[in-house]
Amino acid sequence: MNGLLVLFDLVLLAGIVGVAWRCLASTDLFRAVVLFITFGLLLALAWVRLEAPDIALAEAAIGAGITGALLLVTLERLRSIMAERHTGRPHTPPPDPTGPHALLRALHDPPPERRTFLPALTFALVVGGLLVTALWHQPQSTGLEPVVDAHMDVSGVDHPITAVLLNFRAYDTFLELAIVLIALLGAWSLGRHDLIPARPAPGPILPGTLRLLVPVAIVTGVYVLWAGSHAPGGAFQAGAILGAAGILLVLARPRQLPMAPGAPLRLGLTGGVALFLLVGLYGLVAGHGFLGYAEAWAYPLIILIEVAATLSIALALVALFVAGRPTGDDA
């Protein structure tokens, strides 16, 4: 049995490294992106094997799902930009007159130059080799598991990862929400040009399926959020599921998106961090320290923060997918 497990490990890891290699070696960007999504799904399997179901859930939803959607829509945007440039300026000759796909140049990367091969290989081998050496010399330390375990009964929740994320190391989680927001502010600061390129109407099938799937996604998201207090799940996974549902809705609209008005959208986006800050300040004033909770209040406060965080993350992920800043913003 143990031998079979080792075999599984080896096959899985070989697959992961192989897919990553094919992804980075590919000259066609579409192929690279599809391989990257595969890579994310294989990683989720690896996380399950390492007894990290929370991370597997997050990897599948965020790492493979949302990142994959972002990459694919980026390729679609690059394609449409290039097509526009080439049809819009008839004087510019296509760079590669031999192929009909010349205007898709933005979606191709020529094979790397030969001269970078040896230096890059040497560098990567040295870094990898040193890393492996250092890792093989490490002791079998138990990490912080016993410490977390000893404090679980005062954390307010029953799931250790949620306890770490929203109680013991809540400050990290707070800043993480801030980072999502900053990335969105950065994308918005580039302008409000980025409507999704016009596509033919998707026909009745996609909207029909969504009518079935979106309610299921919402129920699943709420369940995952609620489950986070005692089982794998939590705000980030739930936010990613709801965000994915939102992205699907965006995709099902054939052309123009109804842009969300600026003010409510901003309020929803900052709700997560704002609530976190208020709870943190309350802790500071009440004498539990910044971001601290009274033991009796820990559970309701954690749930409250998680609900706000879920909504903010879902909104931010959809907004990052749409990428342009809301129209009302510039009024």
Binding site: V6, D9, L13, I16, V17, A20, L24, L29, A46, R49, L50, A52, D54, A58, I62, T67, L70, L71, T74, R77, I81, R105, A106, H108, D109, P112, T116, A120, L121, F123, A124, V127, G128, L131, V132, L135, W136, Q138, Q140, T142, G143, L144, E145, V148, I161, V164, L165, R169, V180, A183, L184, G186, A187, G191, H193, D194, F236, I313, F321, D330
Partner: protein, 142 residues
């Protein structure tokens, strides 16, 4: 012979096997980052490097007896969200760069920084994504 089997069993334990694979992914991403020029591929390479770091972290957390370290898992979760945020922002920048210059390739070597820059303090400038003067800002078109 027995010693060899023991070493093998030790080496193939998930607490060592997965960190090793993580280190390989890290190095592989680094290799791709150096060799590929298209910005989307470079972003993919950085993501693969990041996954390598997470694999080391989770592998290290799974070492030893007993349940895996929840702190390491929480850190990984945080790391994944940070990675997707940075990726989304980077992709938005790449789309914008392509819109302005017509390519999404970061050319090797130091760029020509004697190109004058637009001064937002001076003109009435609307960041609607249209290049102010298409001829002035081209970043060394290939």
């Amino acid at each position: 012979m027995n010693g060899l089997a023991e070493t093998l069993a030790h080496t193939l334990a998930p607490g060592l096997l997965y960190p090793t694979a993580g280190a390989i992914l890290f190095a592989l991403g680094l290799y791709g980052l150096i060799r590929r020029h298209h910005l989307v591929l470079r972003i993919l390479a950085l993501n693969i490097m990041g996954s390598g770091v997470f694999m080391v972290l989770l592998g290290v957390a799974a070492r030893g007896e007993g349940p895996p370290d929840p702190v390491a898992q929480a850190l990984t979760l945080t790391g994944i969200v940070v990675a997707v945020s940075a990726t989304a922002f980077a992709l938005a920048l790449v789309v914008h760069l392509t819109r302005l210059t017509g390519h999404a390739v970061m050319l090797p070597g130091p760029p020509d920084d004697d190109v004058p820059v637009e001064d937002i303090s001076r003109e009435t400038h609307h960041a609607d994504g249209s290049p102010a003067d298409p001829s002035s800002g081209e970043d060394r078109p290939s």
